[in-house]
């Protein structure tokens, strides 16, 4: 149990009028102290639901955790009540949301929004909190922090707002920060700055980061390890080099093929992954990627592949890695190009 966070076979479903949507269908991964885990996948694959489950913020009563455990510092968060969750949120786990334009309260001074979390979780006085907030604003790179303190969110640009959101997440020095697509809504240059900031803060404070993204470029920049999610399951996970150099799942190959590479001089075309993810309203019984996979075998349609372990960190769920699979090296090689 040396992992800071360990998610084990997590299953979450949403009940809507037309039936049950199985958003997470057995998600397992872990985050070690001081490292950055990137959770990657297309929209709708369950990345954000995973974050919500960890924070205890799955919309009720439609959504609920059906099975599995979320161990944070050895405690199972799925067993937590509201009060226990409140003691974890903000103080031990901080969260950065996707859209900085809407994740700050428009009618509250920016400073007060940071103060609040300090007063709540560290029992600081208003004055001490203000002091610390101004330090935090400086820390996340907001110049003129003391006058910025009493401004409102609409007086901040998107990138600046995201810095404020990061300051809120950081305020109580949490051990884990969950960043849900923190750069998606931002301009490219601002994206780089925000990622740089996250990296810097992590180094200084030895915080663990669970970075949710659909952008492999972001992953390459900041992550130590990667978990690739597809249709409510983790299909491949491993160290960032392992995933980029030696991916074992056709979906990862697809993702890597669809990333533009700046260094390649060739007029390399981006290869999109054909098709769309399965409907989690009625997930397929076999591998969820089978329908879009260029190498589908009959077994893929019938049975969910188990975990194949390649190294201490690297594992994937794909029948192609089964010894019984045809050693169709050429096909695989062709697919990876």
């Amino acid at each position: 149990m040396s992992h800071l966070l360990e998610v084990d076979d997590l299953k979450v479903s949403f009940h809507v009028s037309s039936g049950e949507i199985q958003a997470l269908r057995g998600v397992s991964f872990h985050v070690n102290s001081g490292e950055t885990l990137a959770v990657v996948g297309e929209s709708g694959c369950g990345k954000s639901v995973t974050a919500q489950a960890i924070m205890g913020m799955i919309p009720s009563p439609q959504g609920r955790v059906k099975e599995g455990r979320i161990l944070f510092k050895g405690q199972d968060l799925t067993k937590f009540n509201k009060k226990q969750f409140r003691s974890v949120r903000g103080s031990e786990i901080g969260m950065v949301f996707q859209d900085p334009m809407t994740s700050l309260n428009p009618t509250m001074k920016v400073g007060s929004q940071i103060d609040e979390v300090l007063v709540k979780n560290q029992k600081l006085s208003k004055k001490e909190a203000k002091q610390k907030t101004i330090e935090l604003l400086k820390l996340v790179g907001i110049s003129d922090a003391s006058s910025r303190y009493s401004q409102y969110p609409h007086e901040f640009s998107g990138g600046m707002r995201q810095r404020v959101v990061i300051a809120i997440a950081l305020a109580c020095n949490p051990e884990l920060i969950i960043a849900d697509e923190p750069t998606t809504a931002l301009d490219v240059t601002i994206q780089a700055q925000i990622l740089e900031l996250l990296k810097k803060l992590q180094k200084e404070r030895n915080t663990s980061i669970m970075l949710i993204t659909h952008d492999l470029g972001v992953v390459a920049e900041v992550a130590d390890r990667v978990a690739i999610m597809y249709a409510g399951v983790v299909v491949e996970s491993g160290r960032v080099e392992e995933i980029f150099e030696n991916p074992k799942h056709p979906y990862t190959w697809g993702l890597l093929n669809s990333v533009p590479k700046l260094e390649s001089s060739e007029k390399e075309r981006l290869i999109p992954i054909e098709g769309s993810p399965p409907d989690l309203f009625a997930p397929p019984k076999g591998c969820p990627f089978a329908e879009r996979c260029p190498f589908t075998m009959e077994v893929c349609l019938e049975h969910m592949p188990g975990k194949e372990v390649f190294s201490e960190n690297h594992q994937a769920r794909c029948w192609l890695n089964d010894p019984r699979a045809p050693k169709n090296e050429e096909l695989i090689a062709a697919g990876r190009e």
Binding site: M55, M57, K82, F85, R86, S87, V88, R89, G90, S91, G94, M95, F97, Q98, D99, T102, S103, L104, N105, P106, T107, M108, Q113, E116, V117, K120, N121, Y152, H154, E155, V165, I168, A169
Partner: protein, 310 residues
Amino acid sequence: MSYLIKRLFTMFVTLWIIVTLTFVIMHMIPGDPFATDAKSLPEEIVQNMREKYNLDKPLPTQYFLYLKDLVQLDLGPSIQSKSRDVNSLIADGFGLSALLGIQSLLIAIVVGIGLGVIAALNHNRLLDYVSMFIAIIGISVPSFILAPLLIKYFAVEWGLLPVAAWGTWSHSILPTIALAVSPIAIITRFVRASMIEILNQNFIKTAEAKGLHTWEIVIKHGLRNALIPVISFIGPLFAAVITGTFVIEKIFAIPGIGKYFVDSIFNRDYPVILGTTIFYSAILIITLFFIDLLYRVIDPRIKIASGGDS
């Protein structure tokens, strides 16, 4: 500051338009204020009366004379109650009407916000349905149906409260309730809808992720934002309460402005109709003005756009 001046200017222009329109309408009304008395009064006296009230002069002259008096806040004499002028009628009735109106508005705001928030927090659960049921009943039953029922049961059958007329504060309880019910319902519905929307916003998730208690989130982050759209509803609500007093004062025989207004219509007492209409409009316009200021206080985003939205 320039915004304030602009806004004040608009206020006066609006009021002037209302005065003019009402004046014109008033003088297009068929029927003569002396018609009822005409049989008993000799022709000369009627003529004298018409002179006294400037009714013999051409309309534009009457209009300017009226405006001149109005600027001095003189609403002119009443035709029906010959000894009194409109100012003193309004002064007499205002206290009662204002007490009723303010009492019921305050109750409506407190109860309405409370019910609305409870409903929103329990969206699609029992308490939501209960609050909405109360609200829908409040909107469905008109005050002029509710008021007689209140009198019948609370005053006559159970003898808990005085029947009607005016005396002690307890006389104001039943009319206040009758007047507050529909505003309560309106506020409840608006607060509920607004609150549900706000509670789905991202910044509520941020607040939740801070580890705040539900009630802290509701009060500090939810309510203020949810009330912004509701504020714009206080104006019409205020107007609804004013008009509500017409029937309530009639049913409960309360000598407020509403009663004078309704009586003046039947008596064709032009100066009173005109005076009360202007008075009501002025109050409403001033209220709207303060609501506008309140908006600016409560919503920091408006300051930036202060030039644009006026």
